[in-house]
């Protein structure tokens, strides 16, 4: 708790911090090797209860390996992991009942209808949500009687999410959940995720869409070469909050731009030079994508 108040949105954890059994997820010094190369190489991570945490990183950086170790699908070669206070290497049914997992690969093909699939999935959990309510939540009510394999790509992904939340999870893993969504479907999905957060669900999200991380995540972590290189709130990642702003406008028919640490003062000067509106005025901070690409570029 003190960590969040004294070092708001700052870089990686102090290496000496002990594992936190009360966190939703706490990882220290995680190592996973495939042959001679380490896919995950001393990774530390803490995810607080109730937050949405987005894990970013290029393909092959160790994202899915890390997530799948936390989910209990893969073994590890070193380090400590606690997920809801339990070591995933010693998974029990009761522990799994608190998790919801939306795999990158989806939930498989089926001849069952959406409603039947959700009913079957609900039957594995102690306190499931009502399948029809879940269908409503993900916007598949009209497809309740359609077979899983007849759905479009985006509908299937929503069905995957529905399967992930029907067990009323405390902690939800979302591995690239919106791949194949059209923009409207993604916006709908985002509001679904926000309403789940309002219900107290902790979420670990991996995504390639930086606007998605920015829209949803309370904090983002960037993985590169098997390590977490930075953790911050999206608006300050990579020193983004202090980076110079770029002011652009059009003057004498020419597009002009100026990088400045004091954009307010600069815009005031500008407006004094024009009689009315400054033509095509825009003020921009580096996007999350800009700082992300710089960060992973530094480490590649």
């Amino acid at each position: 708790m003190t960590r969040s108040s004294t070092v708001p949105a700052a870089g990686t954890l102090p290496p000496s911090a002990p594992i936190d059994p009360d966190a939703a997820i706490s990882v220290r010094g995680l190592v996973k090797r495939y042959g001679d190369s380490a896919a995950v190489d001393g990774l530390d991570l803490d995810i607080r209860r109730g937050e949405i945490f987005a894990l970013l990183g290029p393909n092959g950086a160790g994202k899915t390996t890390t997530v799948e170790i936390c989910e209990g699908f893969r073994t590890r070669d070193g380090g400590e992991v606690r997920v809801l206070g339990t070591d995933p290497a010693h998974a029990t049914r009761r522990w799994k009942a608190q998790l919801g997992i939306v795999l990158q690969s989806g939930a498989g093909d089926s001849q069952l209808t959406c409603r039947e699939l959700l009913g079957a999935q609900a039957s594995y959990y102690p306190e499931p949500r009502d399948p029809d309510e879940v269908l409503e939540l993900v916007g598949l009510t009209e497809k309740a009687g359609a077979r899983g394999r007849s759905l479009s790509g985006g509908q299937r992904r929503r069905l995957d999410v529905a399967l992930g939340i029907v067990g009323r999870p405390t902690l939800l893993f979302l591995d690239e959940p919106t791949t194949g969504f059209d923009p409207e479907a993604r916006r709908q999905f985002w509001s679904l995720i926000r309403s789940l957060r309002d219900l107290g669900t902790t979420m670990l999200l991996t995504t390639h869409y930086l606007d998605e991380a920015e829209a949803l995540a309370d904090r983002v972590g960037v993985i590169a070469r098997g390590r977490l290189v930075e953790v911050a709130v999206p608006s300050t990642l990579g020193g983004r909050g202090n980076a110079p702003a770029v002011v652009t406008w059009t003057e004498d028919g020419v597009r002009r731009s100026e990088a400045t640490p004091t954009p307010t003062a600069f815009v005031q000067q500008l407006s004094a030079r024009f009689p009315g509106e400054v033509p095509d005025l825009a003020v921009a901070r580096p996007t999350l994508e800009d700082v992300y690409l710089r960060m992973i570029g530094d480490t590649l």
Binding site: F73, G108, Q111, E116, Y124, Y125, P126, G167, T170, G200
Partner: protein
């Protein structure tokens, strides 16, 4: 702080209720898939109809080949609904992510196998019932009588158990459903030719008989011949008797071997993802 919402004392659903739910899933998955219904259920019936119409000769003792073929096609039907069905469906579910998805839920792992066994049982009972009915109505093949039903039951149960376990084990060798099908279908076909399904076993060359006798199909067919044929025809068998004791021994041995192979080889995820 937020942990209070997760009522930690709520009981998990009972294992039997999950068994019921998985069984329902497996039955729907099978009967709604046209390929599996046609391949596993209809194909043996078509073969019975065709062979019964074409090869209706007397094999001795006033017994028609159709009656002989009945034992073989029932054995082949059991092979299809257990070994082939399991190998292909589990390989498919492993490669498309169904198994991994289930592994991430609190479903007891045993429930997956219970569901599969219920599916095999239902399909096996159905295929046997259809074959018996078609044989009786279309070709006048007499139904088993008296003690033969008992022999029928244990040969079918033991044979289908051995083949189900083998099917589960074999599924781990294939990359996906398609490659499982490409691997297991020719093997099953060759076994059917050399195990006394399509021809009288006594007409199969001795070296092929020897190969066939390492596998369960030959013993299932032989045990079922004791059910469908009059005992005088036991003289045509390699040992001159039905060898029911050895049938039980070999099929039981394959059950044990299949179980060991399952335990050693079963994977919930694609290879190289652990």
């Amino acid at each position: 702080m937020t942990a209070t919402v997760s009522g930690t004392e709520v009981a998990l659903p009972s294992v039997t209720s999950v068994y019921r739910s998985r069984s329902a899933v497996e039955l729907k998955e099978f009967f709604r898939q046209r390929e599996s219904v046609v391949f596993t259920l209809a194909f043996p019936v078509i073969l019975l109809v065709v062979f019964g119409a074409v090869l209706d000769y007397d094999i001795g003792g006033g017994v028609s080949f159709t009656q002989y073929f009945m034992a073989g096609i029932v054995a082949a039907g059991i092979l299809g609904s257990s070994l082939q069905n399991m190998a292909i469906s589990i390989a498919t579910e492993r490669s498309d992510g169904t198994l991994k998805h289930l592994l991430g839920t609190p479903m007891p792992k045993s429930a997956y196998f219970v569901g599969k066994v219920v599916q095999v049982l239902a399909v096996t009972v159905l295929i046997i019932a259809i074959l018996l009915a078609v044989g009786r109505l279309a070709y006048g093949v007499p139904l088993p009588s008296g003690r033969d039903w008992f022999t029928f039951a244990w040969v079918a149960v033991l044979g289908s158990a051995a083949c189900t376990l083998l099917g589960i084990a074999v599924s781990s060798l294939a990359k996906n459903g398609r490659s499982a099908s490409a691997m297991i279908t020719p093997i099953a076909l060759v076994l059917q030719f050399i195990s006394g399904v399509f021809f009288q076993f006594s007409q199969v060359p001795v070296w092929m008989q020897t190969i066939a006798s390492f596998f369960p199909l030959k013993w299932m067919a032989q045990g079922l011949r004791s059910v469908f044929l009059p005992d005088v025809l036991a003289a045509q068998e390699p040992a001159g008797t039905w060898e029911l004791g050895r049938v039980a021994l070999v099929l039981g041995g394959w059950c044990v071997a299949g179980l060991v192979l399952c335990v050693l080889t079963f994977r919930w995820q694609d290879r190289g993802s652990d």
